[in-house]
Symmetry: C2
Subunit: 148 residues, 2 copies
């Protein structure tokens, strides 16, 4: 089921934001907060949230906020893994973590899994990004086993 799952650039923004709040800061995600952060109207947030909900990426309890599903968490982690791997690459090139983060944001929902895994390998499977956040691992990105 569930064919390919395509998330738009905008939806990716929502997922990353919600993940960071919900999973990394344990803050309950409210419509108005998202609206302020993304500089849109609350009604717009509700609408996008409903789309994400139809894609089973999150559950929406009317008037009470949202919670990512397993699938939503997986998708958000995929995006954040991509984001953070790109941050490493770009920090190397730009020599400026903040700019690297900005660039990564623009590209993180367009980079393929294979590319990200290749970069990951090239940098020795790093576990944290320049901002000290965890880089989630990808089972398809084989680490070289330690000898023994």
């Amino acid at each position: 089921m569930d064919a390919e799952l395509s998330v738009t650039e905008n939806e990716a923004k929502y997922l990353k934001l919600i993940y960071r709040k919900q999973c990394e800061e344990s803050i309950k995600v409210k419509t108005t907060a998202v609206a302020k952060f993304l500089r849109v109207r609350p009604a717009t947030v509700t609408e996008v949230i409903q789309n994400l909900s139809e894609k089973n990426l999150l559950r929406h309890r009317r008037y009470h906020g949202v919670e990512l599903t397993k699938k939503g968490i997986a998708e958000a982690r995929k995006l954040l893994r991509t984001h953070r791997i790109l941050e490493i690459l770009f920090t190397d090139i730009l020599d400026n973590a903040q700019r690297a983060c900005n660039e990564a944001s623009k590209l993180d929902c367009h980079a393929s899994r294979d590319l990200i895994n290749a970069i990951c390998r090239a940098y020795g499977h790093p576990e944290i990004c320049p901002c000290e956040k965890t880089i989630f691992s990808d089972p398809k990105c084989k680490k070289k086993q330690m000898g023994g």
Copy 2:
């Protein structure tokens, strides 16, 4: 005038294709050819072409094909510069020029000029990409001057 000029991902595809035909292969660009290449209907091509024409990126002589304007050529070169610089970076990482090209295609209209110039610098201002195509220069991407 002409504010910021934003080209969608799809429009970028058209520009790159038209540029390569017109400027690199000297082939007159016809609606049906573009339609076949991009796997859409001719009517769709006409429509997109009309949009690009309104943005002054090309001239459209009804029933006779299109020709990029100066502005269109500049935009296409910007996109192809980006594409080819990314190819260099990704060939380095993926060790496979074909895949590098595919990945570059996905990202080339999202990467910022600053990032591209930083990569360009990191690779010593290369003049050709892995497929031997010219990498257009960007005046803002200063080459180190040869001594003397």
